[in-house]
């Protein structure tokens, strides 16, 4: 495999609060290759957005990167000075936020915001930057861009604004785009358009994408690979087809079982019993153990490592490789056919959903 665009290694992010140190990310590792879309899923508070902020260096105090590395094309960026990091943001890593209605400064024309960003990163004069801004707007599908460029954000609809946001994220041809819930705030009909656009533009440019969402549908449609996060840890990572159809982790199984398909179409949607632990009360061992249907003695004392199937036998691990890896002790439990067990869970979960 060629060198990944983004490589995150054992990243830990902590928030120092009055009540003690909260660990928002706990040894998170993954890679994103060129032109690849990595979906990051999980419940609210699982650490998806924190991961995105940590990569781009926007963790605000009292938060901090406690340990681990973030590598962009092999170069470490988590320990850069704020000024050098600033030159990476927007230039080499673009970011798209959730709510296009609030992402744009209401007092500045769309063009002003674009030109300002372009000129921050590229050696263009005002006229050239404007030229480029118009091209970008055209590329993201804004009709009549040479006229709309002088509009204010409030003159654009939500979907159009998210296109502008996308143009802003892409304006310096970044190698990586982090899209944090880019469609959550939009109408359902517009969501698909934006996702298609994001996918098309990034494919054309070979841009790597980190797509953060809690929407399994979007992931299944868009992502090449998917990382399932739970309580600040990566529970499972692998090619999207494998993870959706044959999840390894009991949590992922529950998650995938909760995707309604045509066969199991039902009124009621499945829930995983219980709720994710708060950051100040993450259980010892596997974070999922209180909710897991298959808890063994080992699960409540020892934290499972993120390992691929092959790595388990050999004992080596680089966790985030291209393969399908899971952090679960079931797979090391002798005499347990973990895969079959988890598959059964998934089917059962889907069945309860349709039966109810």
């Amino acid at each position: 495999m060629t060198e990944p665009v983004l490589s995150v290694r054992d990243l830990c992010v902590e928030f120092v609060t009055r009540r003690g140190v909260l660990r928002a990310l706990d040894r998170v590792s993954f890679d994103i290759g060129k032109g690849e879309v990595l979906g990051v899923v999980g419940e609210s508070g699982a650490g998806k957005s924190v991961t995105g902020s940590a990569v781009i260096g926007l963790i605000e105090p009292p938060g901090r990167i406690a340990s681990g590395e973030v590598l962009l094309k092999g170069e470490r960026i988590d320990n850069l000075s704020p000024e050098r990091l600033r030159h990476i943001r927007g230039k080499r890593i673009g970011m798209v936020f959730q709510d296009p209605l609030t992402s744009l400064n209401p007092l500045y024309r769309v063009g002003e915001q674009l030109v300002q960003t372009i000129r921050t990163h590229l050696p263009l004069n005002a006229a050239q930057a404007r030229e480029r801004a118009i091209e970008l707007l055209a590329e993201v599908g804004i009709p009549a861009p040479e006229r709309r460029i002088d509009g204010y954000p409030h003159e654009f609809s939500g979907g159009m604004r998210q296109r502008v946001v996308l143009a802003l994220a892409l304006c310096a041809e970044p190698e990586l785009v982090i899209a944090d819930e880019p469609t959550t705030a939009l109408d359902v009909s517009v969501q698909a358009q934006i996702i298609t656009l994001l996918k098309r533009i990034c494919r054309e440019r070979g841009t790597a994408v980190m797509l953060i969402t809690h929407d399994m549908g979007v992931i299944a449609e868009t992502a090449d690979r998917v990382a399932v996060m739970y309580a600040g840890r990566v529970a499972e990572i692998g090619p999207v087809r494998d993870v959706v159809s044959r999840p390894f982790h009991p949590y992922a199984a529950g998650l995938m079982g909760s995707i309604p398909t045509l066969e199991t179409a039902s009124e009621r949607l499945v829930q995983i019993p219980g709720s994710m632990p708060r950051l100040n009360a993450i259980p010892v061992g596997c974070a999922f153990n209180p909710r897991c249907p298959h808890t063994y003695a080992r699960c409540v004392v020892e934290r499972p490592e993120l390992l691929g199937r092959g790595e388990r036998a050999s004992g080596s691990h680089d966790g985030a490789g291209a393969g399908h890896a899971v952090a679960c002790h079931l797979y090391d439990e002798p005499g347990v056919d973990a895969e079959a067990l988890v598959q059964r869970d998934k089917v059962a979960a889907a069945a309860t959903g349709s039966a109810a």
Binding site: R18, S44, G217, S258, L262, S275, M276, R278, A281
Partner: protein
């Protein structure tokens, strides 16, 4: 995305797992501990406020003399500096004013006057504002438009200006009577009429929200008369924020009273409030009798600061969003 609908995997916990009570209590305590500095400030200001209010209320017993009683005052004692300054007299802790009044007693009695006027004024303002706000919010339409227009126009003028105008008018209405008889009512009315707008606006806003809630609809369907709904059902639900305004307004009312008295349109020198004492002292500033203005001024400043800090704290405590 046609065949795959989406759902958040699990709902947010409605109630998190009950943590053991001991731990909960520890959190509360550590929270208090962490905000120690700000709460220390609050505690100090609470202490000062209470001490000053008590001192004012108990003035009759604490003060060595009664400055309102001409018999206890001797002009021969005028302009003594504070006791610890050269030329001071042991009878007069903080010195005397130009009429020979013991300043320490005058401050205690003056505080009482200021406090009573402030409280009565604020109560009038609150009652008026709450009443009009309820009417405007609940009835809406023309009543609302009229009340709120008046409020808007009044907001144009700062309280002190309104108080001055009202003072001028009331005084000319009571022209026959002397200052001694009218000063108190004039001040209280001026303050009451100057400060009602804030209450009215706040109450109106929340009333407009409350009146569309089911319990009001239910009461209306049961045939409860409008005034009873307003007082018994709506009022208890909208009264909360008034508490904060009351505290902050008390400080403002006391400042207003002091300012009016300082400007010579408030209380006469025969019944001095803090403002009157400062007014008297201001005349002696240049001749070196600094204590006549300094001690009443300091008292006023500290009291107002303490009450303001309490008000700020109260506002933050009742509205965690503001933190």
């Amino acid at each position: 995305m046609a065949d795959i609908m989406t759902t958040p995997p699990a709902p947010e916990p409605a109630a998190a797992k009950p943590s053991p009570p001991g731990r909960y209590a520890r959190f509360r305590d550590s929270d208090l501990l962490a905000s120690f500095l700000s709460s220390k400030l609050t505690m100090v200001s609470a202490f000062i406020s209470v001490a000053m209010i008590l001192g004012a209320l108990l003035a009759t017993w604490i003060a060595p003399t009664n400055p309102f009683d001409p018999a206890s005052v001797d002009l021969m004692n005028s302009l003594y500096p504070p006791r610890w300054v050269e030329g001071g007299d042991t009878r007069f802790l903080l010195g005397t004013d130009n009429q020979g009044r013991d300043l320490w007693s005058a401050i205690l009695y003056g505080m009482r006057v200021s406090l009573i006027i402030g409280i009565v004024g604020v109560i009038i303002a609150a009652t008026l504002g709450i009443g009009l706000g309820l009417l405007a919010g609940y009835l809406g339409g023309r009543v609302d438009a009229l009340i709120m227009r008046v409020a808007d126009i009044q907001l144009t003028f700062p309280a002190i200006l309104i108080a001055l105008v009202i003072d001028g008018v009331v005084r000319s209405v009571f022209q026959g009577l002397g200052r001694e008889q009218t000063a108190f009512s004039v001040l209280v009315i001026s303050i009451g009429l100057s400060f009602w707008v804030q209450y009215a606006r706040t109450i109106r806003g929340s009333t407009m929200v409350e009146k569309n809630k089911d319990y009001v609809h239910a009461a209306r369907l049961m045939g409860v008369p409008a005034w009873l709904i307003m007082i018994r059902h709506v009022l208890p639900n909208v009264i909360g924020p008034v508490l904060v305004i009351l505290t902050i307004n008390l400080a403002l009312a006391i400042i207003t009273e002091a300012t009016l008295s300082f400007l010579g349109v408030g209380l006469p020198p025969t019944q001095p409030s803090l403002g009157t004492l400062i007014r008297i002292g201001n005349d002696f500033l240049f001749s070196g009798e600094w204590w006549i203005v300094a001690f009443p001024g300091l008292t006023l400043a500290i009291f107002v600061l303490a009450v303001n800090l309490l008000g700020d704290w109260l506002r933050d405590a009742l509205n965690p969003k503001l933190r």
